[in-house]
Amino acid sequence: MNNNTDVLENLIEEFSKLPQIGRKTAQRLAMHITRRPKEDVEKFSRALLEIKDKLRFCNVCCNITEYEICRICDSPKRSNNVICIVEEPQDVLAIEKTNEFKGKYHVLHGIISPLDGIGPNDIKISELLRRLGGESGSEVEELILALNPTVEGETTILYLSRLIKPLDIKITRIARGIPIGSDLEFADEVTLAKALEGRVVV
């Protein structure tokens, strides 16, 4: 085998490690890179490295940031009374888009799933407990658990509730079920039953 194909093969292999990229797509991407001007490829590889060099987890909420403490945690306009717990950084983006939430976040970076070998130590739970037990922790009045309504999400919620209960902090979860803008009439039986199960006091 000659050297050139080894180099190409390396790149293909790296691409195919990315989520939802199969072997064929990886080949196409690699071939595309070979045809781009050198400056473009340099820019691309710098951008990749910078992610690792500059991005880090926020010391407080574990969200991805360039700083020690992220903009949200650092903002005096955001309340320390409410913390919204989410699975992934993209969930923060989704909630921020609504412009409705004035509190702060905690990003777990995953969800408990024994089948996938993910236990409490593999996600940012101890960071959350340390935060709640720390000096700003006393300001926290409510935790909103905004996890997905899957079996894994629900059992993670139950698990967190057990750990947080002794701290005497109010725990709520986001209502699920009926998508906003849809009529009850058209929701199917399953969605309705789940929505009723997850109803909140008005």
């Binding site: 024994p114 236990g119 139950l158």
Partner: protein, 398 residues
């Protein structure tokens, strides 16, 4: 609902066969092993997504071929036609389904329960003779067809059990998690398990309550003697429950479920597997006879242990006809009735009884090796209401 037409390609011993069916009675006969049942099995693939005989897809591909193809045309009561196409490729091990040329992405929400079908075959006898899992499967499929919520609970239950089993295994076998972490985790899974289990049991008990009136009608239609059949539910949590005689209370089921699950925890840790929940429950078929020696108090005896072959068959046919009746009411249309080689299993008096009632059902498919049953049918059906198909070596003879 009517099955108008089916087209089989490389399915079992059929290389290519189109069959146009009669709206009323389809009499399919031929020697064993020539492919009568395969036609019904193909129908089960379209409506349930699986073989009703439990065969794997790969075994249904014609020998020497790579893929099978089943196309079926259904007609509903409003004369709307639906074309379902199933294609299975044994090389890629992939199955694709389309309905009216649109790809079906979720079989369970788009197809399951849409085309009500009732199968009765000698294979069905495992419902009364077989294991608890055979009985659960019969009722699970039946309840799911009229309640998507129940199907959803079943899926949730299966998911929780898989996670809980992984948790127990990680802890007991692989020594993951600290003791206190494990305790909190297992209690979290149990909390969820209790709610879902209670939902499943609650639905099952209420279904049985509703099912009973259908069942007792059919049972007394089939029996000559003064026998009574009944169905009760047996669960780790609640013990044996006759849904007609006891109050079905959701909170009560939750409480009992919690006690039962808590009591098994030590064993579960030791054996690293879930030991409690509706995945282990059973339905008990009871028969009450006037013969006092065989009676266990007043509730009748358990079919599984004491019944004769004839009694098993009567019970099964009553279950299946009740399945038909309840689906008919729930779906507002006659299910298609598939009778696979059942007449030979029954004695003459029951055969005449069943045949005399068949006219009350909708479209019927009957397979048999014995052409002479056609004479009995002639009494009840006009000539144009019966289509006769003779099957030989994977072909319908002209």
């Amino acid at each position: 609902m009517i099955l108008k037409k089916i087209l089989l390609k490389n399915f079992r011993n059929y290389s290519g066969q189109e069959i146009i069916f009669n709206d009323k009675f389809n009499f399919i006969y031929g020697n064993n092993g020539h492919g009568k049942t395969n036609i019904l099995e193909a129908v089960s693939f379209t409506t349930f997504g699986k073989s009703f005989l439990g065969a794997a897809e790969a075994d249904c591909v014609k020998f020497g071929e790579k893929e099978f193809f089943i196309e079926s045309d259904f007609l509903n009561d409003l004369d709307n036609e639906d074309r379902l196409v199933i294609n299975y490729n044994s090389e890629t091990r992939s199955k694709s389904i389309s309905r009216n040329k649109e790809k079906v992405s979720s079989f369970s929400s788009e197809i399951f329960g849409r085309y009500p079908i009732v199968f009765l075959s000698p294979h069905s006898l495992n419902i009364t003779y077989g294991n608890p899992s055979d009985r659960r499967k019969f009722f699970d499929i039946l309840i799911s067809q009229s309640s998507r919520l129940y199907l959803d609970y079943l899926k949730e239950l299966a998911k929780i059990l898989r996670q809980k089993n992984a948790l127990l295994k990680n802890y007991t076998v692989f020594k993951k998690y600290s003791r206190s972490q494990f305790e909190d985790l297992v209690q979290s899974y149990n909390e969820k398990l209790i709610t879902v289990s209670a939902n499943v049991i609650f639905k099952r008990l209420n279904f049985l309550k509703e099912f009973d009136s259908y069942f007792s009608n059919n049972f007394s239609m089939l029996t000559v003697e003064e026998h009574e059949g009944s169905i009760s539910y047996n669960s780790d949590a609640t013990g044996e429950t006759d849904p007609l005689k006891s109050q079905i209370d959701f909170d009560e089921i939750c409480r009992k479920m919690k006690t039962a699950i808590d009591n098994r925890l030590d064993d579960e840790i030791k054996r690293a597997v879930s030991l409690c929940g509706p995945q282990r429950d059973d339905y008990i078929f009871r028969l009450k006879k006037s013969d006092p020696e065989k009676n266990d108090m007043s509730k009748g005896f358990d079919l599984k242990n004491f019944a004769s072959q004839g009694e098993h068959k009567t019970f099964l046919v009553a279950l299946k006809l009740s399945e038909f009746d309840i689906l008919k009411d729930k779906k507002g249309t006659n299910p298609v009735l598939l009778l696979d080689d059942v007449l030979s299993e029954l004695d003459q008096s029951r055969v005449s009884k069943i045949i005399s009632h068949l006219k009350e059902y909708g479209q019927i498919f009957l397979t048999t090796t014995d052409r002479s049953y056609l004479d009995n049918l002639g009494e009840f059906y006009d000539e144009k209401e019966i289509s006769v198909f003779e099957i030989e070596e994977g072909k319908v003879l002209d």
